[in-house]
Amino acid sequence: MRVASNDETKTITLKVNGAIHRLDLDPNTPLLYVLIDDLGLYGPKFGCGLGQCGACTVIVNGSAIRSCVTLVESVGGSEITTLEALGTPEKPHSLQQAFIDEQAAQCGFCLNAVIMTAKAFLDKNPKANDEQIESAMSTVLCRCFTHVRMLRAIKRYAREMMP
């Protein structure tokens, strides 16, 4: 781990959920730490810090990435989308609505991983079949094991609700 001293901080411009943020940061900070500490976002979460579980997933330029292992400097200027930008409790995105309809949650900590991974995959592969969806989701963990409901919600969205 390389450590930046105060005089090594850089001004980095981040575009998150449509808003521009100019932040003075150690350029080696993983993106996740900036999102949850500097920007106070609720969506991306620290699960493992190793890119293994998906809790920190955000969408950058249309692709799901693991922000705990992505240096903030590498996404300067990119379009970053987090779970909160998809919809609101009053007006959820139809993928979020599918999760509400299927009651696809237990503790809910993994939902960011699950929904953001599914969203990026289906945006790119709107005609994906069930097997392809399962394969795309096989890098995401849920320790309450709400797998059945969550996959049902994703497949339902893909089948019936995609724009």
Partner: protein, 780 residues
């Protein structure tokens, strides 16, 4: 506090503090939206709570309040951990008080407001709060009290009144009515809990028993839900811990200069063997903890994992417990036609929460406020006070949901971590563990060695069953006075509960199911009375606890998962020996009607093909397929479940694929069928993961299963079986546990299916491909 509540308080002439101390806490803001869902503003408001408040459980005001706006506030000591109990408790209160679900605000596990109901754990919330005590009895008492008040106000006898939507009307003349708000808005009941208050019969339920959706899910899926990980306080710093590099290592010195290059350092905090770093920013704290140079003494060499199960058998001293002993086993085994013996092994497994544990503490001077995902807020209040050297009445614990815990995960230690660091710097500190620290130091579910021995008569009936187990223990939940039962308390200088040796075991005086230590098939006779669920009267169960090298504590279905793996595998071995169908053979030896019913229910759901195992046909080329059954009376009386698993085993890779699981559960009256189904599906799959993959590993000095590469779990898109859930509703029975029913029986159902498919018995969890391949060599 709403302006209305404040006015009501002022009118009552009581200071808020006294009001809280002497009665229920009426003053919490009534905000719509599910428990916790609107917590972002709510936690700041509730931070005004009084830490010295101690609600009396026999007082109605400790449980139920009518808010100034007429809404109902319910206070509970059972927390929503993701298992759905928050929704079910809200339904319960809405039902008993005749208001809509949306008019109930549930407040859980905040020591400034809610009653002490111990831990939210062990399938105890449903029996504790849905029968004829605690929350349910409080809600029934409140409804009857409101009807009495309305009777006075309307001048009509209570039996001529009906309550609906928070309004009491005269049945014959609905223009004569009065609302809860008019009757009692913002005021106390000043009543004791009435044990004779009538619960509404299940036949009249309109909210309870229905599949009410969970109110927290819209906020969860849109990232508006505040987990403890999201709590931010003004002036808050970030802490990271530095745990020892190996089990039993002790601190020699800390090289403070080693992190001089890291900006933003607030303080290095050392207390005994506890080390943490506080910094202004999260990333700074994480970096500093990573590079801080510390000189540790090496810990002792750990027992070798390869021979650990044999090691457990030879450990001294032991704490021996005899659960049942009919005293005639020698005779029965001598006279038996057939004697069957088997040894089963179960590893340490971990909770492995998806998010590593996190807490926020604000310790200033002689008082502290802790935002904690603990399962026991009141216990945490006491033990955190010990860790901090404060008076318990000066500590307030606010339960704030964390990542699903499944038992004694890192929640309690991380709360002490945050508290210690906040105290050292005099301002709020947030701590989240690293993945490695979460996994290396949590209180694991116990490893088990289990010997089974049974005697069959000439007809193949079980006439005697002898069970003996060796179970390592160290620490536990902290309870009221043992912060040393978890890693941080220990590092900070507190000792775990001492190991109380006891050998030989005294004769059993009372019936103790001891986490399904007693197989379901035993009569469980103590002092001439049978308390078991079976009819085998030759019986002995002996448990040896020994000292564990690692922390241990409750993991979902604690010890019941392990015991049931052995018992339900072994009864299958006996059925095979008797050449009997595994379902019929179980039924022959079970006396409890509800356990028999779930077994028949699961068999029926699976279209069970009655015949002895193993089957003769060996499936298609390269693949074995088979089915296995299992059942349990959870803790003997706290819920009933049975399961049929259908599996395929790939001959070459040894990979087991669970194709279909049919599970039947009975938890008494079903409070929310959708919630029960969710818990049953989740418990089943968690059980599959534990049965097939999960095992804590170590080397000479340290735990080596410290991330998702080295501790395997079942990812989202991975060969998910079809799960059929059959639920038996028993509206007139008492509510029992529900959340741990399915998981308890998964491992033996799979092992029995593998035996059915292959004729090979695997007696060790996990049934991973390496172990299966070795076992299959027996038939190649």
């Amino acid at each position: 506090m709403t302006p209305g509540a404040r006015d009501a308080l002022r009118r009552s002439g009581l200071s808020r503090r006294n009001f809280l101390k002497e009665s229920g806490a009426l003053i919490v803001c009534f905000s719509a939206g599910g428990f916790g869902a609107s917590a972002r503003p709510a936690f700041a408001q509730s931070a005004q709570g009084d830490s010295s408040y101690r609600p009396r459980p026999n007082q109605l005001d400790s449980w139920i309040a009518i808010a100034a706006d007429g809404g109902v506030i319910a206070y509970t000591g059972k927390a929503e951990l993701g298992q759905g109990i928050g929704t079910a408790q809200t339904q319960l209160v809405a039902e008993e008080l005749c208001v809509s679900f949306e008019r109930v605000k549930l407040i859980a596990c905040d020591t400034a407001f809610t009653p002490d109901q111990g831990y939210t754990s062990g399938s105890q919330s449903h029996p504790a709060n849905f029968n004829h005590s605690n929350l349910a009895q409080a809600a029934a008492t409140a409804r009857e009290a409101l009807l009495r008040l309305a009777s006075d106000r309307l001048g009509a006898p209570a039996e001529q009144l009906a309550a609906a939507d928070g309004v009491v009307k005269v049945k014959a003349d609905s223009s004569r009515k009065v609302s809860y708000q008019e009757l009692l808005g913002g005021q106390k009941f000043n009543l004791a809990l009435d044990k004779n208050a009538q619960r509404k019969p299940a036949g009249e339920w309109t909210v309870l028993g229905k599949p009410v959706p969970r109110p927290d899910i819209p906020a969860l899926v849109t990232a508006r839900f505040q987990f403890v990980h999201n709590v931010r306080l003004p002036g808050m710093s970030y802490g990271s811990v530095v745990r020892p590099p190996s089990v039993g290592a002790t601190l020699v010195s800390v090289d403070e200069d080693s992190i001089r290059s890291v900006p933003g350092i607030v303080k290095i905090v050392v207390k005994g063997n506890f080390v943490g770093v506080v910094a202004e920013k999260l990333w700074q704290a994480v970096q500093a903890a990573y590079i801080l140079r510390i000189n540790w003494s090496p810990g002792p060499t750990l027992p070798a994992q390869a021979t650990f199960y044999d090691h457990l058998r030879t450990q001294k001293p032991t704490r021996d417990t005899l659960l049942v002993d009919s005293g005639d086993l020698d005779k029965k085994f001598t006279e038996a036609t057939t004697v069957v013996k088997a040894i089963y092994h179960h590893p340490y497994q971990m909770h492995g929460s998806m998010g590593s544990s996190c807490a926020v503490a604000d310790v200033r001077g002689d008082s502290a406020t802790l935002w904690s995902p603990t399962q026991g807020a009141w216990f945490m209040r006491n033990t955190a006070a010990m860790v901090l050297g404060l008076k318990p009445e000066n500590v307030r614990v606010i339960f704030t949901r964390g990542s699903g815990c499944y038992g004694n995960n890192g929640a309690d230690p991380v709360t002490y971590d945050a508290a210690l660091m906040s105290q050292a710097v005099g301002k709020p500190v947030r701590v989240q563990l690293t993945r490695q620290d979460e996994m290396a130091w949590e209180n694991y579910g116990n490893a088990f060695v289990m010997d089974e021995r049974a005697a069959l008569d000439a007809q193949g009936n079980i006439v005697a069953w002898d069970h003996e187990s060796w179970v390592p223990v160290l620490g536990n939940r902290p309870g009221l006075e043992r912060p040393g039962n978890v890693v941080t308390g220990f590092l900070a200088g507190f000792q775990p509960e001492p190991f109380a040796a006891q050998t030989p075991a005294p004769a059993p005086a009372v019936y103790n199911n001891n986490s399904n230590g007693i197989p379901s098939y035993l009569a469980g006779v103590i002092a001439g009375q049978s308390r078991g669920t079976g009819n085998v009267r030759g019986e002995r169960v002996l448990v040896h606890n020994v000292v564990s090298p690692f922390w241990t504590g409750p993991l979902r279905s604690p010890e019941r998962f392990q015991n049931t793996f052995a018992h339900e595998s072994f009864v299958d071995e006996l059925a095979a020996k008797a050449k009997a169908d595994p379902v019929d053979f179980r039924l022959r030896h079970l006396s409890h009607p509800r356990l028999r019913d779930v077994l028949k229910g699961a068999a029926s759901a699976a279209s069970w093909d009655a015949r002895p195992s193993p089957q003769r046909a060996r499936g298609r080329a390269g693949v074995f397929s088979g089915r296995g059954v299992s059942c349990v009376a959870y803790e003997g009386t706290n819920g009933y479940a049975a399961m049929v698993a259908e599996v395929e085993i790939d001959k070459n890779s040894g990979v087991i694929s669970v194709k279909r699981v049919s599970v039947c559960v009975d938890c008494g009256p079903i409070s929310n069928p959708e919630g029960l189904r969710n818990q049953t599906e989740g418990g089943t799959l968690q059980g599959v993961s534990r049965a097939l993959f999960e095992e804590v590993t170590w080397d000479d000095h340290k735990i080596t299963s410290v991330d998702w590469g080295s501790y395997r779990t079942y990812p989202l898109g991975f060969r998910i079986p079809t799960i059929q859930v059959a639920m038996i509703n028993r509206p007139t029975e008492n509510a029992t546990g529900a959340g741990e029913l399915a998981i308890t029986i998964v491992a033996p159902a799979i092992a029995n299916a593998v035996f059915d498919a292959t004729g090979v018995r695997i007696r060790q969890v996990p049934l991973n491909p390496e172990r299966v391949k070795v076992a299959l060599q027996q038939i190649s």
